[in-house]
Amino acid sequence: MRIRFFLAAALVTAAAACNNPLDLKPAGSIPESSAITDAVGARAALFGAYGGLQSLSYYGEDFPILLDLSSDNSEHTGTLTSLGDADLNELRADNQTIAGIWIAIYDDINRVNEIIAKVPQVPNLDPDEMHEIIGEAYFLRALNYHNLVKLFGGVPLRLTPATSINDPTGSTRATVADTYTQILKDLDSAQAFISNPNQTTQASLGAVMALRARVLLYEGDYPGALTAAKAVEDLGQYSLAPNFSDLFAEDGSPTPEDIFRIIFTAQQFNNLSYYYLFDGRYEVAPTTNLMHDFDPSFDPSDDVANYDPVDKRGQWSISIEDDTQEGTKFRSVQGTEYPHVIRFGEVLLIRAEAEARVGSLDTARVKVNEIRARAGLAPIGSLSQTDMLNTIIDERRKELAFEGDRWPDLVRLGLATTVLGISAQQTLYPIPQREIDVTPGLTQNPGY
């Protein structure tokens, strides 16, 4: 009897210990070593890199919203102090929203670095497809670094996946010039590898060229920007959408103006309308200054109910309800519109500005009037170079309001200090304090 009991106990314990219970595998994740090892993994990794753009700390919410708050386009009407500080241009280094943007962008850069490093080693991957994947990855890296340099100035350049937590690459900030050099180099690589011209929810040749135009404009290389913008036009596949509102279709329907835009769905949603709409959080609202820009007859000290612009962009982008103004460029309650990273309208404005800067005022005027015509505005006549540039900057503001472009524009043009009344130091965002704290040797921007 005793022996039987003993045996039973021993068997139970042995059976329990069999199939070593400590060797478990995660159910919802793949070990990193086997993630990008075949064609399926390579493709999935690329989609994962696009998925990184959807982050609510990036194009899904914070990136366009914070940038417009820093500018004269929108003001803070909600409760989040990190956004309130941006509105007042009194940013602190410990601002959590900025930290989120920094983290989201570097997360995406890492995803891209993994693709660039590992996809070439994948067996059984069609060479054309491999090139396409790598080319799109280079495009994304260029986009990410340009977004970083627009906000922070020179940043650490990571071009390979991190293998060690203690890698010192993260502690040296490249100069602005070197960052631009790398961005343009990545765009060259992208252009060499990308073959698909037609997709708009992923990078294409047109997207690479359009981004190059933007990057060169920001860098101040106007002739270069001109060439690049012209190259986009010469592709002959883009034209302005007939109605401005088409661009912001709530279900993400395509338009001929799309160059590169980001997919959002009901499950992978953006919060743009949620933050702007009165029925949503109403965290941000248009400034009366912007309203005056859309409707010159509207006085900022007037009752907002008097806002009544002719400019169709002004009608679409700002609405008045119950005596309150709200930004209505993005209206999908579910957050399913596809915001544009870059579209043909911006390319035309880049062309116009570049032409004006090199002295071709007539061409500049033609391009500006294309934009104005779509907005229902009368064409402008001949203007001096200064006036033409001011007009173009103004058209950029109205066309791209709430898309996160006004703040980088003001900064690159040296207008931020005068228009917003801030100091030169405030034109750069602070490197997030959390990054300074964990990266010895990383220098902070002055004034923070």
Binding site: R2, F5, A9, V12, A16, P21, L22, L24, P26, A27, G28, I30, P31, E32, S33, A35, R43, A44, A45, L46, F47, G48, Y50, G51, G52, T79, L80, T81, S82, A93, W102, Y106, D107, I109, N110, R111, N113, P156, R158, P161, I165, D167, G170, T201, Q267, Q268, Y274, D279, G280, R281, D322, V333, Q334, Q433, R434, D437, V438, T439, P440, L442
Partner: protein
């Protein structure tokens, strides 16, 4: 040949009253006779059943007159008397042949606590022999409390055990810290063990309606508990190894005993109200204040006096109500020699004092002990409970009921004239809290099955083999409906939001161990336990969220138009262990114990899978030493003890998919539209390993005044190293955080527990007065971090708490407020670095949420059948960050309602005040996050006052009922504190938060309860 040698086996005495007599006749003349009586030194009453040992041999026990008599060989012999509940007595005497020597003993009784048989890990031990730091709480002390869980009921009852209620939501997760917080990212919760099996106590909820979570502890019914033992130091807890560094709470449920069937019945019902209301502005004050802020900045008045302030709503009173709470328990126990049983069932119901919230639990238990054969016994403990928790959004939520009631200005009505809830028609700034409470719902149902079957086979009386199988199966179903009828919420524009979540947690434990228990005639006893165990954890979750409903009458996912979120995944983590412990005691005077455990966890990579946790402890009953002599007897029993040991923690928190496999580099899902995508989610750390806590404890157990006073004091020094921290790393790597072992935390402190029988009358109905007091001091300090880098918590949009070397965990780190400039009314902040700017570089350490000391004081007076008990609970030195003031004391920058003390705002030059100038544009600095909002969280709480009356038998209408007691009780009657919020015992980040502590962000307040109850047996 000695005729009266008793075998060793028969020396195990359990109340055998044997009269040891040497026959008067037929005795060889070579023996001597020794006789005497053993009495209680205080009362003089005879001590029966005391074991007599003469010359190393056990002779038997005293009879019912306390007398003994024995024949022994002549010579000088040592006579020893011992009985549980008394200090042993020992004397030497010289016996001569043929003579009769009388030797009487007067034994000192020790407090009942000494005589306790306490449950310790894998066995039981007498309090007399315990060498570790162990506290016990009786089941009766945690029963009949108007709180759902036993953890809440433990507050203030055991030294070294700090309980923070976090908020007053019925059924919410409670924070329990044994000897201070040691972990930064890993769990700080103690290990809960019920009837020998570790149980799940975490938060399985997928929905986060507010900052409060729920824990598995509320599924355990306090009415079923016989006793709770808290193992506090490493020596006592190390036998639980890798989960024990935060202490172990051993819960023993009631079991039957031989005898006729015996029913017990407890019922109580009470009424709860808020213990206090916040002092917020009424409509007139609000309008005047906001207008003043606008005028100060040259803006136009936002409100019109006489129009906007014509009607004032007290939003607090609109959401608070008097709510019932009650509990009923019926138990049946009994048994025979071979079968003993305890059956119990309870119902606990608590309606929340805030509209829309409530909690109820139905539970039942069957504990059956069966002696299958004389050598084989079986114990089964089976329990089932079902909880229904109606939660409401609250702290940390934009649509919280309490949040919006405090935030909503008093100028808005609750309802429009047509009876609908006021909303957009009145331009309500925040969603109507009454509408949220009444139209939205969030029922959470949890089913819990706890089962434990244990078989023990005795090879010999001293050697047994025990096998245990335990299962803890928890299923939680959460439903949420957010109505589109509540203006100003996301659901209003999304046309309703419905969520459905299922979580299951299954924990299976198989254990077996050998126990060797030996007492020999030299009064040496040895107890050895050794065995192994395997624990399987299988969890699973499913979740769906839908929007777009055609009618407010549909509340479930099926009727929505679009699924906006979905999830489903299993999780596993397992543990394999082996353990051994030896306890040795000689004459109950010298005590030594050692234990060792090794655990292997699936959470760590092959490099560090196994860890070893040793411990050693010793005790010395110095008062029994002969050299102490009479002084020792007068002093009372004094035991000195010391222990040293290592315990571990493997409780990584956060995303379970990552925390179960944090040592691996992982890729997870990142889809792009309909395209499946993957992206890196975790950076590998193959060297990740256990947290370890090395703890030294020195203690004193002293029972002076004949045991009327019990003093248990401990000093401890705990150093936790290799902290498991999800630490921030350079984001340029692509990852913001990374699980790593870094840093050290030191907790050292002092605990004191006193139990005193102040006054005791011999007459059962006379006056008696007992006092129990405990106080704990803890010093918490982070002593090392990775390269000394501090880090704040990412849980708030506003980082105010941080972890830094030389500071306690959760130290507040904000700007320092120096005062209000009498000339301008601006708030002045300290410019620490002297650069002329107030930036985040000017932050300073501004106070700690950890108290300097805390404890409880219980007094019980009884006279005749009446008994009055009071329980006070106190905490001193903790700071609370009143985050509500960011909006409620911001000088008028936000449209929120304000605290009335904002009316002291500066108005004219030369005025001295602490409230900055009212400023609609926020120019006075009132809205800066600084230590202006940090308040003193010390409190003294009248936690309970109970008056009970034991109905005399002759007054009982039904004769069969015995021990019938009626009582009336008040809980949380008053809290003496300077804190301006509801309750300083608060944490709006819930029980799982480690760093962000002591913050009040619109937490649900605790109720004051008056209840009446009845308990009886038959």
């Amino acid at each position: 040949m000695r005729r009266f040698t008793l075998s060793r086996a028969a020396a195990v005495l359990l109340g055998l009253t044997l009269y040891i007599a040497g026959p008067a006749a037929a005795r060889a003349q070579q023996t001597a006779t020794i006789r005497g009586t053993v009495t209680d030194s205080v009362s003089g009453q005879p001590v029966t059943g005391a074991q007599i040992t003469i010359a190393g041999q056990v002779r038997g026990v005293t009879n019912d007159r306390g007398a003994y008599l024995s024949n022994v060989a002549p010579g000088t012999v040592t006579v020893r008397v011992q009985r549980i509940g008394f200090s042993p007595g020992e004397r030497q005497v010289t016996l001569t042949a043929g003579d009769t020597t009388t030797l009487n003993f007067a034994l000192h009784s020790v407090a009942v606590t000494l005589a306790q048989v306490m449950v310790i890990g894998y066995g039981t031990e007498n309090r007399a022999r315990v060498t570790g730091a162990v506290s016990t709480v009786n089941g009766s002390d945690v029963q009949n409390q108007p709180v759902a869980g036993l953890d809440a009921a433990l507050q203030g009852k055991a030294p070294g055990v700090q309980v923070i209620q976090n908020a007053g939501d019925p059924g919410n997760g409670i924070t329990v810290r044994v000897r201070g917080a040691a972990s930064i990212s890993a769990s700080n919760q103690p290990l809960y063990v019920v009837d020998g099996i570790p149980v799940q106590s975490g938060d399985f909820s997928q929905l986060g309606p507010n900052g409060q979570g729920v824990t598995g502890v509320t599924g355990l019914d306090p009415s079923e508990i016989e006793s709770i033992t808290v193992l506090k130091d490493a020596a006592s807890a190390a036998i639980y190894g890798s989960r024990a560094s935060n202490g172990v709470v051993l819960i023993t449920t009631k079991r039957g005993s031989a005898g006729t069937a015996h029913f017990s019945f407890d019922a109580n019902t009470g009424w709860q109200q808020p213990e206090r209301y916040l002092s917020l502005m009424n409509a007139k004050q609000y309008v005047a204040f906001m207008n003043q802020g606008a005028e100060n900045d040259g803006d136009s008045d936002p409100f019109t006096p006489g129009v906007d302030d014509a009607h004032s709503t007290d939003w607090q009173r609109a959401i608070f109500r008097t709510a019932p709470v009650g509990n009923v328990h019926l138990g049946l126990s009994g048994g025979s020699d071979r079968l003993k049983y305890y059956l119990g069932g309870s119902y606990f119901g608590q309606t929340g004092i805030v509209l829309g919230s409530s909690y109820s639990r139905v539970s039942g238990r069957a504990n059956i002990d069966f002696d299958a054969t004389p050598n084989f016994s079986v114990k089964t403990s089976l329990a089932y409970s079902k909880e229904l928790d109606h939660r409401i959004p609250g702290d940390n939520s934009l649509t919280g009921v309490v949040t919006n009631a405090i935030g909503e200005a008093s100028i808005y009505p609750v309802r429009s004239p047509n009876g609908q809830f006021a909303g957009n028609d009145y331009d309500l700034y925040y969603a109507n809290p009454v509408a949220i409470a009444e139209l939205n719902n969030l029922p959470t149902t949890t089913d819990r099955f706890l089962g434990n079957v244990e078989g023990t086979y005795h090879f010999m009386p001293s050697l047994s083999l025990t096998g245990r199988v335990g299962a803890d199966v928890l299923t939680m179903n959460e439903l949420e409906w957010d109505s589109p009828l509540v203006d100003g919420t996301y659901a209003a524009q999304a046309r309703g939001v419905a969520k459905s979540g299922y979580s299951t947690g299954n924990q299976y434990v198989l254990e077996s161990f050998l126990t060797y228990d030996h007492e020999n005639s030299e009064a040496a006893s040895l107890n050895i336990v050794g065995g192994g165990s395997v624990e399987y954890n299988t969890d699973q979750l499913n979740f769906v969220r839908a929007e777009g409903f055609s009618s407010d009458q549909f509340h479930y996912v099926r009727n929505g138009t679009v699924i906006t979120s979905f999830d489903g995944l299993p999780f596993n983590n397992n543990l394999i262990s082996a353990f051994a412990r030896a306890n040795y005691s000689w004459k109950d005077r010298y005590l030594l114990s050692g234990s060792i455990r090794t655990d292997g966890s699936s959470r760590f990579g092959p490099n560090n899978r196994y860890a070893v946790f040793p411990a050693i402890a010793g005790g010395w009953v110095i008062s029994d030493e002969p050299f102490m002599g009479d002084f020792g007897q007068k002093l009372g029993r004094v035991k000195l003890r010391a222990s040293y040991g290592v315990t571990g923690n493997q409780g990584l928190t956060g995303d379970q998919e990552i925390s179960d496999f944090a040592y691996l580099g992982l890729y997870g899902t990142s889809n792009y539209g309909e395209n499946p995508g993957i992206a890196p989610t975790n950076f590998a750390n193959p060297n990740l390993k256990w947290e370890a806590t090395h703890e030294f404890d020195g203690g004193l157990d002293w029972y002076p005044f004949g045991g009327r006073l019990t003093v248990i004091a401990d000093y401890y020094h705990r150093l936790t190293s290799n902290l498991l921290v999800n630490r921030p790393i350079p984001a340029t790597t692509g990852f913001a955080t990374y699980w790593d072992n870094i840093g050290n935390v030191l907790n050292r402190g002092f605990e004191l527990g006193l139990n005193s029988v102040n006054f005791r009358s011999d007459d059962k109905n006379g006056f008696s007065w007992n006092t129990d007091f405990n106080i704990s001091f803890n010093h918490n300090e982070v002593t090392a971090l990775f390269q000394g880098q501090p880090f704040g918590d990412g849980e708030n949009f506003r980082p105010i708490s941080r972890v830094a070397v030389g500071q306690p965990i959760g130290e507040f780190y904000v700007l320092h407020f120096k005062g209000v400039d009498p000339q301008t009314g601006d708030a002045i902040y300290q410019d620490v670095n002297g650069d002329g700017e107030i930036t985040s570089d000017d932050r300073v350490d501004a106070g700690s949420p950890q108290p300097k000391f805390f404890g409880g004081l219980r007094n019980t007076w009884s006279w005749k059948g009446f008994s009055l008990g009071s329980f006070l609970e106190f905490s001193y030195g903790a700071k609370v960050f009143n985050l509500m003031r960011i909006f409620a004391d911001d000088g008028g920058y936000n449209y929120d309602n304000k605290f009335t003390y904002a009316l002291n705002a500066w108005t004219h030059p030369g005025q001295i005040t602490n409230e900055p100038r009212a400023s609609f544009d926020g120019t006075s600095g009132a809205r800066e996050i600084s230590d202006r909002f940090i308040e003193d969280g010390s409190y003294l709480r009248i936690s309970e006052i109970t008056l009970s009356w034991r109905i005399p038998d002759h007054l009982m209408p039904v004769g069969a009922l015995e021990n019938t007691t009626l009582y009336v009780s008040g809980h949380n009657l008053h809290n003496f504190t300077k804190y301006t919020g509801y309750d300083p015992d608060v944490n709006s980040n819930g029980s799982t938060s480690n760093i962000a502590l002591g913050t009040d962000y619109y937490a649900y307040p605790r109720a004051r309860t008056i209840s009446i109850g009845l308990s009886t047996n038959w």
